[in-house]
């Protein structure tokens, strides 16, 4: 519906302003624009054209069994509100047009809330995933009804009726699985501007954070986004450098999941934190972009390495505490009390956990925590996301 009206409007304006602006209605294909260089993000490509920006998004969605799921793709055309409306022709015909800067934003992924928060535009949030935002202001807004709720984060398809009532300029939609794609199509057919987001699917932690530049473009805060990201990148480089000077610390990131099972980080962006912070993951597995970064292992598989672990990230929101600390006891980490949980920034009473929000946006903070855990003398600022836990505690 939007596309048709744009076509009509631009046809009308073309007729009216006949003679100039012929170049604004020209079609744009792959080679037409100037790419905005992105150093880490693999699933985002940005191209600057005369008067608008094209964002191409592509991400495979990994499913739990390690199989490759369908690739999701999307093309966005970001056109300023105070400029002429673009006419989509050629390969851009099916793109989604977003008039920028957006002032009303709906987002069902908590990481998107964090991106906007870091850019200082959280007041533009009109609807979020649920009542579990770590940001007190946002959460209060939801409780008081000023901000709509469109479903429990990305675990369930979004509430289309709330979306329609809120009338956002753009709905940033995290697709958790294929089941939600029909919902995306339906949302579009209902006239909503939907932009899928794949920041959390990036295989590197800097790649995830670099998506802030898309948020910057959407909200008209491009400069702030670029500046923030450079700051993040610089800090990460510095921390990596400092940590690489030290011998690696053998460690394990595994939390108990009931029975005799443990959820262990073995690869991917999370594992990269450990490696970049100067740790040697005793349960490292080969990289595989199709698989998730953690695997469920039996206690027996952990026993061979447990007594070498000097640092153990044993706590997690999802941990199901076992009835005794029998397994951890054998590790040096247990004896010396170098046990940690990733629940540093959490508000259990509100069911809010910043690990799933700001941690995606500020990998510099996360890496600082890991370096601090492994090499305490290298970082002076206090822990943020990680926190030391007592023996036998898992949260």
């Amino acid at each position: 519906m939007q596309r048709r009206s744009f076509l009509l409007a631009s046809a009308a304006s073309a007729l009216a302003g006949c003679g100039d602006d012929a170049r604004q209605t020209a079609s744009v294909d792959e080679g037409g624009g100037v790419p905005i260089p992105l150093r880490h993000a693999r699933y985002l490509r940005l191209e600057r054209h005369e008067g608008f920006v094209v964002a191409r998004l592509r991400a495979p969605v990994a499913d739990q069994s390690g199989g490759q799921a369908q690739e999701q793709t999307a093309v966005l055309v970001l056109a300023p509100k105070d400029g002429p409306a673009p006419v989509l022709v050629g390969r851009l015909q099916d793109a989604t047009v977003i008039r920028t800067p957006v002032t009303r934003i709906a987002a069902n992924a908590s990481s998107d809330e964090a991106f906007l928060g870091q850019l200082g535009v959280k007041e533009r949030l009109a609807a979020v995933g649920g009542r579990v935002s770590y940001d007190d202001d946002v959460r209060r807004g939801v409780m008081e009804g000023r901000i709509g709720q469109i479903g429990y984060n990305w675990h369930a398809p979004p509430n289309l009726d709330v979306l329609l009532a809120v009338r956002p300029d753009v709905f940033l939609m995290r697709l958790s699985d294929l089941a939600h794609t029909p919902v995306l199509d339906r949302a579009r057919r209902l006239g909503l501007t939907v932009a899928p987001t794949f920041a959390e699917d990036e295989p590197t932690y800097l790649g995830r954070a670099e998506w802030i530049r898309l948020h910057g473009l959407l909200t008209g805060r491009e400069a702030e986004a670029d500046r923030l990201f450079e700051q993040i990148e610089a800090r990460v480089t510095a921390l990596k450098g400092a940590a690489s000077q030290r011998p690696p610390v053998p460690m394990v990131w595994a939390y108990p999941a009931g029975g005799d099972r443990w959820v262990v980080t073995v690869r991917g962006a999370e594992q990269a934190y450990l490696a970049d912070a100067g740790g040697r993951n005793l349960l490292l597995r080969p990289e595989d972009a199709r698989k998730w970064s953690s695997e469920t292992l039996a206690t027996e598989q952990m026993l061979p390495v447990v007594d070498q672990a000097q640092v153990w990230i044993v706590g997690d929101l999802h941990a199901a505490p076992p009835r005794g600390a029998g397994v951890e006891r054998a590790s040096p980490a247990f004896r010396t009390g170098r046990l940690f949980a990733n629940t540093g920034r959490s508000n259990p009473a509100a069911n809010a956990y910043d690990w799933y929000q700001t941690a995606f946006v500020r990998p510099d903070w996360v890496l600082a925590d890991f370096v601090k855990a492994l090499h305490p003398d290298l970082v002076s600022e206090p822990f943020r996301f990680l926190k030391p836990v007592a023996q036998g505690a898992y949260k």
Partner: protein
């Protein structure tokens, strides 16, 4: 083979199978051990060696829990089937375990109300809060079912039990809605029945309770046999039926509640094992069936547990799923063959 010897032979065979599966369970897992390594592990308790940690700290308690749990649930099923005169009765099918689930969930939710300190107690004291909650829940349902049993027929009672199960699930789902995610994890972890959670210190509570239940079962064997003919005949043979009902329910709870509390709700065992024992031993006398039921129950449960813990590459199987694969076809077979259950009798 004479009819009198057959039950003995069945018990001996079951014991043999049990021993073999137990040995296999100690050897097999994500880390495969040879018999020699198993023996080394058993012999070097406390040495901290890999073998002893795997065998003694991990596998042995699990195997023992599966054996005791399977035997206890089998006996509980035998008693319930006789008490309710219902071939499909057992702690799971009549909704007792659903009551246990609800009790456990209520305890966990109470933690949300009382505060995070309560949660620490829950997990610190070997989950004793959950244990007590599930035991009370089972008792409540057992009493309700016992009262209903006089008024409705066998299949109706079974449907009531299954409906109770759904009701409990619904209530639990709503309850957990009001807790935070970590409490939900605690409940989910308990609800996924497994013997791998049992530690050595748990046996201090488990063993005496199950022992009492077993003693109760043995003492009640004679009146239970009389009850095979029905309430009236049992009374005419000298059984004080109302008092006896209470005792049987008590013994059943002593057997089923601790297993459910420590290992989660285990399905099907109590339902099918008495039938297997009866069919193989060729006798319905309770005294004769007790050893056969206990041994077959232990063997079956341990075998299912072994399947769960085979070195699958990435998949973690659930105990109840394996038991269902064995149990559900058997129940279907039973329904089709048993005259008392055919034809929609009510």
């Amino acid at each position: 083979m004479s009819a009198a010897f057959r039950p003995v032979a069945v018990s001996l065979a079951a014991a043999g199978v049990l021993a073999a599966v137990a040995v296999a369970s100690l050897m097999v897992g994500q880390v495969m051990l040879s018999p020699g390594e198993v023996l080394t592990g058993l012999g070097s308790i406390g040495s901290g060696s890999m073998e002893s940690r795997i065998v003694v700290d991990l596998r042995l308690p699990r195997v023992l829990a599966a054996i005791l749990g399977g035997a206890a649930l089998g006996l509980a099923g035998l008693m319930m089937q006789t008490l309710f005169q219902n071939p499909l009765a057992d702690a799971w099918s009549l909704g007792l375990m659903a009551g246990g689930q609800l009790g456990a969930a209520l305890v966990i939710v109470a933690g949300a109300v009382v505060g995070p300190g309560f949660l620490m107690i829950l997990t610190g004291f070997a989950g004793l809060g959950v244990v007590a909650g599930s035991a009370l829940g089972m008792l409540a349902v057992a009493l309700a079912m016992s009262a209903m049993a006089r008024r409705v027929g066998a299949v109706t009672l079974l449907v009531l039990g299954l409906m109770l199960g759904f009701l409990a699930q619904g209530l639990i789902s709503v309850l957990l809605h009001f807790t935070n995610r970590s409490q939900g994890r605690i409940f989910a972890a308990w609800n996924d029945a497994t013997f791998a959670n049992v530690t050595w210190s748990d046996f201090a509570a488990l063993a005496p309770l199950l022992g009492l239940g077993l003693i109760g079962c043995v003492i009640l064997a004679k009146p239970l046999t009389a009850l095979l003919l029905g309430d009236v005949y049992a009374e005419s043979l000298g059984v004080n039926v109302p008092r006896f009902r209470r005792l049987v329910l008590g013994a059943t709870i002593l057997l089923a509640a601790p297993v459910t509390a420590f290992c989660g709700p285990v399905a099907f065992v109590g339902l099918i094992v008495p039938h297997l024992a009866r069919g193989l031993a060729g006798s319905a006398r309770i005294g004769v069936l007790i050893p056969a039921t206990a041994l077959i129950g232990a063997a079956l449960t341990l075998s299912a547990d072994l399947v769960v813990h085979l070195p699958w590459e990435q998949h973690f199987l659930h105990l109840n799923a394996i038991l269902a694969l064995i149990g559900a076809p058997l129940v279907i077979l039973l329904l089709l063959r048993a005259r008392s259950l055919r034809g929609g009798e009510s």
